[in-house]
Symmetry: C2
Subunit: 510 residues, 2 copies
């Protein structure tokens, strides 16, 4: 199209995360563009922006210019720019192909990922991409290309020495603080593990929310490389890096839709591992009711897909299906979890579920990396905790990230407002609802209030007496504690039942 127009710039000082402009419907008609179309905006600089239209917000002859466009053009109020209709980016046709269930080639997939990273696609287009890949999963080839594109459109770390180890958990189980143990165990045995992790979105605390209590977690790729080369490992926030940046942008769209398309799940995990140059990766797949993976068959399928895709990308991937129906350890919420993890490293005292799970996963990595013989990983991991080397290594990691290496578990401040939840009857704990537990921790303030969370006194299968404490809720703010308590009482996160499940009378009388 060849229409062009000179329009006066009217700044709209709002960040919308994209290049976006607003035209009066009269000018849009004259240009022949509709809402959702693109225009080239030209000055000494030029860019392509997505068009919004308005009847009255922007006068004819003006162009409303959101922050990102202003910043790029560096134009002031009342200056004019030339506006010309632009064609849609190729990636929009690729998304249409996906909606039609057509297969894509590598270049097509790259064009989508590139445009996602460049913020060139509208929410409508991004949502169609996510929905289409959810409803019609990408093939193995396509998923590999998606992962490669996510790696190639961000920063990469190239280590001079190898192997590089890494660890990921699929999530879905509360209290899963094991990275605080696994990373120092692995690094203490001479292997490099540049671990990036996430913050909680719907959970009560991601590894980054936890680690942040001990040290800063925001670093870029080159800092991660340098720190890992010095002390063997880091525990940093992936969101602060430019590693596989497409992932965060996709999560923003997946979140409101409550979906995590299979191909995106694989690509999201493996792109971050591929970008840091990982050779050996262990993936924790918490399995069971109340987790993301509800049964072992599903867990095995996901494990096979991850191993297969790792292989395509040149990574050795091993997966561990872990018990996910109850929390890991006895704490949920950042400070409580850090305190529990530190105590295990300092004293070897603590919940078996936490020590065992950490030792199993660290053990797999120790064997994969050749730090010990096959079958010896678990014992070496336990030994590394017991002899204090894991604690020493964690302190080195804390120090290099800028935290205080002399911290001990008793330094960790938890919420001062507490309340206990007691057993309603004598019996056994036969149900433990992960989702409710997380809801209560979140109502108490987690993960934002670091000291908020839940301490679990009794876990599934344990015997309780009526009025014995089952949970302690911690909060930094009294009113949040109140919200958490009333929610907990409305619907208990546990079910206690005696051995006698139902009493049947000997005779029924009519």
């Amino acid at each position: 199209m060849g229409e062009k127009m000179q329009l006066k710039v009217q700044p709209l000082d709002i960040k919308v995360g994209k290049y976006k402009v607003v035209l009066n419907v009269i000018d849009a008609k004259e240009l022949g563009v509709n809402e959702g179309d693109r225009v080239h905006v030209r000055d000494h600089e030029s860019l392509t922006a997505i068009v919004d239209t308005t009847k009255d917000m922007i006068a004819p002859g003006m162009i409303g210019v959101y922050h990102e466009v202003q910043e790029h053009l560096q134009r002031e109020w009342t200056e004019t720019v030339e506006v010309v209709p632009a064609t849609r980016p190729k990636s929009t046709y690729v998304i249409k192909k996906m909606m039609n269930r057509e297969r894509l080639n590598q270049e097509e997939i790259f064009s989508v990922v590139k445009d996602i990273v460049d913020e060139s696609l509208s929410d409508v287009e991004l949502s169609a991409f996510i929905t289409a890949s959810y409803m019609n999963d990408l093939s193995d080839d396509e998923t590999e290309w998606l992962t490669r594109a996510m790696i190639d459109t961000g920063d990469r770390i190239e280590f001079d020495t190898h192997p590089i180890m890494d660890k990921h958990s699929i999530g879905g189980v509360p209290g899963n603080k094991i990275s605080l143990l696994v990373v120092p165990i692995v690094a203490a045995n001479g292997l490099m593990i540049p671990k990036t992790s996430s913050r909680a979105i719907t959970g009560a605390g991601g590894t980054s929310d936890l680690m942040e209590i001990l040290a800063p977690v925001e670093f870029d790729a080159s800092e991660i490389k340098e720190m890992t080369e010095k002390v063997g490992g880091v525990l940093v926030w992936g969101g602060a890096t430019n590693i596989a940046p497409a992932d965060d942008k996709l999560i923003k769209i997946e979140y409101p839709l409550s979906v995590d398309p299979h191909c995106q799940l694989l690509a999201s995990i493996l792109a971050k591992k591929g970008a840091v140059g990982a050779d050996n990766v262990v993936i924790d797949i918490p399995t069971g009711l109340g987790t993301k993976i509800e049964n072992v068959q599903e867990g095995r399928k996901l494990a096979r897909d991850l191993i297969n895709m790792g292989d395509r990308l040149g990574m050795n991937v091993e997966c561990a299906l872990t018990y996910g129906s109850s929390p890991v350890g006895r704490t949920v919420g950042p400070a409580l979890e850090v305190r529990e993890a530190l105590k295990v490293l300092e004293t070897m005292e603590g919940p078996n579920s936490l020590i065992e799970k950490s030792a199993v996963l660290a053990g797999i990595l120790l064997e994969m990396g050749g730090a010990t013989a096959k079958g010896q990983g678990h014992d070496l991991a336990i030994e590394t905790i017991r002899n204090g080397k894991a604690l020493t290594k964690l302190k080195e990691i804390i120090e290099i990230q800028g935290g205080d290496p002399n911290v001990t578990h008793s330094d960790i401040v938890v919420g001062e407002h507490t309340a206990e939840l007691r057993a309603p009857t004598n019996g056994y704990i036969i149900e433990f609802d992960n989702k409710r537990l997380v809801e209560i921790a979140r109502l108490a303030g987690a993960p934002n209030d670091k000291g908020a969370g839940v301490l679990i006194h009794k876990k599934r299968g344990e015997l309780v007496k009526k009025d014995q404490p089952i949970l302690t809720i911690y909060a930094e703010k009294d009113w949040k504690l109140g919200n958490a308590i009333s929610s907990a009482h409305r619907q208990l996160p546990i079910i206690v039942e005696g051995m006698l499940l139902e009493q049947v009378p000997a005779f029924k009388e009519f």
Copy 2:
């Protein structure tokens, strides 16, 4: 959730078409909400808004409030409002069910349509709805409920007398100005036809773009009723009414995705007919290469679906598969089309394709409405043009809509800048590219410049001599004419070939 927060209002004087607020990430975390979540905003008024987050655009303690929220709350700068996390609307779970290919009940479908009309869904959610219904078509039951919900969430017209007639074209063929003839023919025979139509989005002129040259087209439902009762028919713009308002909002999402899901197509057409109380509806399905319906089988399937859905909704629907590979008549573009249509009514002179198509469709309606016996509709339609009654009726319609009833075809002003496209060789016109023709008309300025368009001298199958004019391009602006000409020369919209298609030598020598 029970968190609440007092935040100072910071107005963002921008219309975003939804209730939307912006929170600093610190406050969002404290509230436990993420981008795309909802919050209740409470004052003496209260509403639910979609959350955007920002690191720096809005300070902690403030809430950025877009125009629509301000208008609803009537709050000024520095006043505070209470902000509380809100659950997602039920419709978002319904959309998730659609993504999972689960069937929906009537109440679930209504909740989605209601929230679409109320602007309660984000673009991400709307796009997922469209994509899911494109990739997994709704069932007949669901499509019926969708249509009913679209009718029930807007204005309805209840006429005291019946039958009410209506007409719709699926579109896709250029120059389809037949409503300007069909409506007056039908109304002139004593039947009521309250015709709403659209403006062109990607075409060179919708019926409303055409009619607007003769009279205003923006009226509400009660005005449509009153005018129809007085003169038997109207030709108004559906977009100015509140009839089936969900439709326009869905089209805004479908447009950037270039999709028109089958169920949405049916619902979109029939909701507008149902809402005006139509009893008898004829639907024009232009069929052939370059239209939306490329072959007769597809056209028949669509016809059956429309008839079936009409039946479920209590409407008699008849469909006409019409020849769509060439334009209707010899003009494309608002003023040229109006001039051509008026001339036919005034003089009975004009292209056979226009007169015949109009007579066939009007004839079906005349028979359906009982204005004549079965088999007599076409002849009555032709007679209604010939005896001048159709012209008289059109003038009544023009007058009641506020136009000048004394207008004649020679009053219609077409673009003063013209250029001719000539045959490149002797031969027959064997291809006529609808899409290119529309592109050229749009480049010349249509539909925005009413006088712009294309006049066709030679149609498919006609004999032409080298350098004989095939098309005249009209434009209101010289530079637009230039754009149209260079585009036309780059790729001709027609192919002329002699009878000799290929010369084959008698012998091949090796």
